[in-house]
């Protein structure tokens, strides 16, 4: 069998279903189409599945409409911490990072962990240091910010202030 398959998801996007306009829905679908095209270009030219999933995810990390990379949600402190993982089915090699703050495409950092370190999971400032040492594209944490996500944080803070529960986190904004 010589064919290839690519499946992607965008989570619930930047908005919840009942708040998204037709225009915003169209923009999100265009981003998903670009991600599919990026992965398809790799697979259709007999490229690897690992290259294809990295390419597709990186497109969605660069798009402000999804909760990853540029357009990710804020943490309680008002900054952005990013998690990512990648895995090769044949070798069972895997790379994952969590709490990274400066790598433009966290999926590429996860891949660097998989291919350039003996580890599987790196976190926080250590992952950021490994990213710099690996020569990956670095950005300020503010690069990831969008107005939409900042408004969601403010709304969540108001509700959490009312309830007094520090864990009053609404999954809908995940």
């Amino acid at each position: 069998m010589t064919d290839w398959t690519l499946v992607i998801h965008g989570g619930s996007g930047a908005m919840s279903r009942d708040t998204i306009s037709a225009e915003q829905d169209g923009v999100q679908r265009q981003a998903l189409s670009r991600a599919l095209q990026a992965g398809k270009a790799v697979l259709a030219s007999s490229g690897s599945a690992v290259d294809a999933v990295e390419a597709a995810v990186a497109v969605l990390e660069d798009d402000p409409g999804f909760n990853a990379g540029h357009g990710a949600v804020f943490n309680a402190a008002g900054s952005i911490e990013l998690d990512a993982a990648i895995m090769d089915g044949r070798t069972l090699e895997a790379g994952a990072v969590c709490g990274t703050t400066r790598t433009r495409n966290p999926v590429r950092l996860a891949r660097a962990v998989m291919e350039r370190s003996p580890h599987v999971l790196l976190q926080g400032s250590g992952a950021d240091e490994f990213s710099r040492d690996s020569g990956l594209d670095q950005v300020e944490n503010s690069y990831f910010e969008t107005d939409e996500r900042r408004m969601q944080l403010e709304r969540m803070r108001e509700r959490a202030a009312g309830s007094g529960d520090v864990f009053d986190i609404d999954v809908k904004f995940g």
Binding site: S12, Q28, V73, E81, A85, G89, R149, G174
Partner: protein, 132 residues
């Protein structure tokens, strides 16, 4: 959260997931995305999976590994296994979904929460984008 799974022309499979986590997260909270076997897994013996949703449920059920184990030891198909694990997570009060692909190229997705964006492409020209 965003994710992709793929099967290439050599027959290998891979998975990748990326996320900002939860709005307002505290104390360095980490969800399922970076936990191999929970939110992200690829194993040529069974499937490649990428998950999105309430990460704590996906970690506690080791969701991606559970789908692979149901296939490997229970002989279930990818879709049946994915639906079963998703149903379990729903029963526990968790929301979200998974996308997956088997080594033979069969794609699958299973969601228990509306509003999930997904898409797929295949060598036969299939190109589909939708919202669950």
């Amino acid at each position: 959260t965003v994710g992709a799974v793929a099967r290439d022309t050599s027959g290998n499979i891979a998975a990748a997931t990326s996320t900002g986590g939860l709005t307002g997260k505290r104390f360095g909270r980490v969800g399922d995305t970076a936990v191999i076997g929970a939110g992200t897994l690829a194993d040529i013996r069974t499937c490649a999976v990428s998950a999105t949703g309430a990460g704590e449920f996906y970690i506690r059920t080791a969701a991606a590994s559970a789908i692979a184990a149901r296939m490997r030891f229970g002989g279930e198909s990818l879709q049946v296994a994915a639906d079963a694990v998703q149903a379990e997570i729903r029963e526990m009060g968790g929301s979200g979904g998974v996308i997956a692909v088997a080594p033979d190229g069969t794609p699958a997705w299973s969601f228990n929460t509306p509003g999930m964006y997904r898409g797929r492409a295949r060598a036969d020209g299939t190109l589909e984008i939708g919202i669950y």
